[in-house]
């Protein structure tokens, strides 16, 4: 067809677009110029294999592939690329366009599981399959791509399966770096909070250490007597062990808070998170004559999350409340912590104080970065809280507490909601 010939004329020094099955006039030029890399694939051989499997009674290809993983390799051999556009040639860094033709195996060199999932989608009769994958180019680079496959259905040209790829390496890179920065910032905030608590932590550790020393000295004095009370000594030594364990627990808690670690999500009981967070601030609150009222709901559904990060949020809110209460007379300093269920799908906790509250004009700004009314305050605590809560699929809100004071409420999805961490 003369029209097709004209459209196939090469343009300057660009790689020669490979001839695609030109079903319609002008389609060839259109597809070759598509800004998205595109492969024209003939998957009929795979279709025939699947028909045979169905005839043999196979209904679950996933199961079948567990027994016969070599079938994936076979499919990658018999399914062939019959055309590719300019974008595909460029993405693959091919020296010559012809290198892209032939078995599709090279597309799944790194992402073998992708190849398997494409087969499953094909077998199941899906129209499209999309997933994130990795591609090795012909010049040795690895790219992250969004891998899109569109299958033909009966009535269409069954020899044309389309594969497209969108290179999103740069975006994924940027997202990974952003997550790292957020983790670093979160870590810095935890260290800052811990630094403020140094005196309280030192005091807390001193208690079990004092008990250990005293019990040891008492034991030695008993042993020095002509008639040592061995039963008493045994009791004292047991208490030494118990106190040492208590000290170790305190240290572990501090190390957890200080540690820079990859977040690990697990099923959590929010009540436990609150209790552990309270351990951090208990001494400080006693020093400041702050009365702590704790109402933990029974039968609270569990949530899914990172224990240390959620602890960080609770500690941050408690520290903020404690600092706000410095302005109040000693007998009016109260912090109220509660956990609750919210509907069928959420659990939450609230930290309320009897402090001066947050002025209405500040309510909107407090979650923005670098807002602080404290002298020397960095003002990133609430921002990080918000980012941690959002990463857990939850929300944090601030309210005016009845009777003045501020109330921070955090709602989190309960574990029954299927939620996959990023």
């Amino acid at each position: 067809m003369p029209g097709v010939q004209a459209a196939a004329a090469p343009l300057g020094a660009e790689p020669e677009p490979i001839g695609l099955e030109a079903g319609e006039y002008g389609r060839h030029s259109l597809i070759s110029s598509l800004p998205v890399p595109l492969w024209d694939v003939d998957a009929r051989a795979a279709s025939r294999i699947f028909d045979q499997l169905r005839a043999d009674g196979v209904t679950d290809l996933d199961d079948y592939l567990n027994e016969r993983p070599d079938l994936v390799d076979l499919a990658c051999e018999v399914v062939t690329v019959v055309g590719a556009n300019r974008g595909a040639v460029e993405l693959m860094g091919a020296a010559a366009p012809g290198v892209l033709l032939g078995p599709v195996r090279y597309l799944f060199a790194i992402a073998r599981d992708t190849g398997r999932r494409v087969m499953l989608a094909h077998f199941a009769g899906h129209r499209n399959h999309v997933e994130q994958a990795k591609i090795r180019t012909f010049d040795g680079r690895v790219r992250d791509v969004l891998f899109l496959v569109t299958f033909p259905v009966r009535g269409e040209q069954l020899d044309t399966t389309l594969i497209m790829m969108i290179d999103n390496t740069a975006q994924l890179d940027a997202e990974a770096r952003l997550r790292q920065v957020e983790a670093d910032l979160s870590h810095a905030a935890r260290l800052s909070t811990l630094g403020q608590m140094t005196a309280a932590i030192a005091h807390e550790i001193k208690q079990p250490l004092s008990a250990i020393l005293t019990n040891a000295e008492t034991s030695l004095r008993w042993l020095a007597k002509p008639d040592p009370n061995l039963a008493k000594i045994a009791q004292l030594v047991q208490r030494i062990a118990d106190s040492a364990q208590r000290g170790a627990d305190i240290i572990r808690r501090v190390q957890d808070m200080a540690g820079k670690r990859q977040p690990r999500h697990a099923r959590l009981d929010l009540n436990d998170v609150i209790r552990e967070a309270l351990n951090f601030v208990r001494h400080d609150c006693e020093e400041r004559s702050i009365r702590m009222q704790v109402d933990l709901a029974a039968d609270l559904p569990s949530t899914v999350g990172e224990r240390i990060q959620l602890q960080q949020v609770v500690v941050n809110l408690l520290v903020n409340s404690a600092q706000a209460l410095a302005a109040m007379p000693p007998d009016e300093r109260e912090i109220h912590v509660a956990t609750f269920r919210e509907g069928a799908e959420s659990v939450g906790f609230a930290v309320r104080d009897t402090g001066p509250g947050i002025p209405a004009y500040d309510l909107e700004r407090i979650f923005g970065g670098f807002f602080s009314t404290k002298e020397g305050g960095m003002g990133i605590g609430l921002t990080i809280c918000q980012s941690i809560v959002a990463a857990h699929g939850g929300a944090i809100t601030v309210l005016k507490a009845p009777g003045g004071g501020a109330e921070f409420r955090v709602a989190l999805p309960s574990h029954s909601i299927v939620w996959a961490p990023p």
């Binding site: 005196a199 005091h203 001193k206 208690q207 079990p208 250490l209 004092s210 008990a211 250990i212 020393l213 005293t214 019990n215 000295e217 008492t218 004095r221 008993w222 007597k225 008493k232 004292l236 208490r239 118990d242 106190s243 208590r246 006693e286 020093e287």
Partner: protein
């Protein structure tokens, strides 16, 4: 035969409270321990105890405030104050206030024994 001096201990940390009670006993005294100033005051009558050992920071009432109340209720009762904070200023105030001794935690048994003997000796002379 002189009776064994009865030492009252006020300390809110349970492990430390038990440890001190056992130490006081192996040192040759009798001990009775309380978890707060309130529970101590509920039991206290003048002359019942020969010495009081109390933590500086207590739930409800600071050790120094307790000391002041006792000055009215039982002025001859010697009071030894223990503190987890290394605070020389608090120490000076406590001693000026009439405390028999101010000891830093962790408490050294030998030092405690010396202070106890001194406090009990002073009381028996008073």
């Amino acid at each position: 035969m002189p009776s064994v001096p009865l030492i009252a201990i006020v300390e809110d940390d349970a492990a430390l409270r038990d440890a001190l009670a056992d130490l006081i006993e192996v040192l040759g005294f009798a001990a009775r321990a309380f978890d707060s100033s309130e529970s101590f005051l509920a039991v206290h009558v003048p002359g019942l105890f020969n010495c009081l050992i109390t933590d500086f920071n207590l739930l409800g009432e600071s050790g120094v405030q307790l000391r002041r109340r006792l000055q009215v209720l039982d002025p001859s009762l010697p009071v030894i104050i223990m503190s987890g904070q290394a605070d020389p200023l608090a120490c000076a105030w406590a001693l000026r206030d009439g405390a028999a001794a101010y000891l830093a935690k962790p408490v050294n048994a030998q030092v405690l024994l010396q202070r106890l003997n001194s406090a009990l000796g002073r009381a028996s002379r008073a």
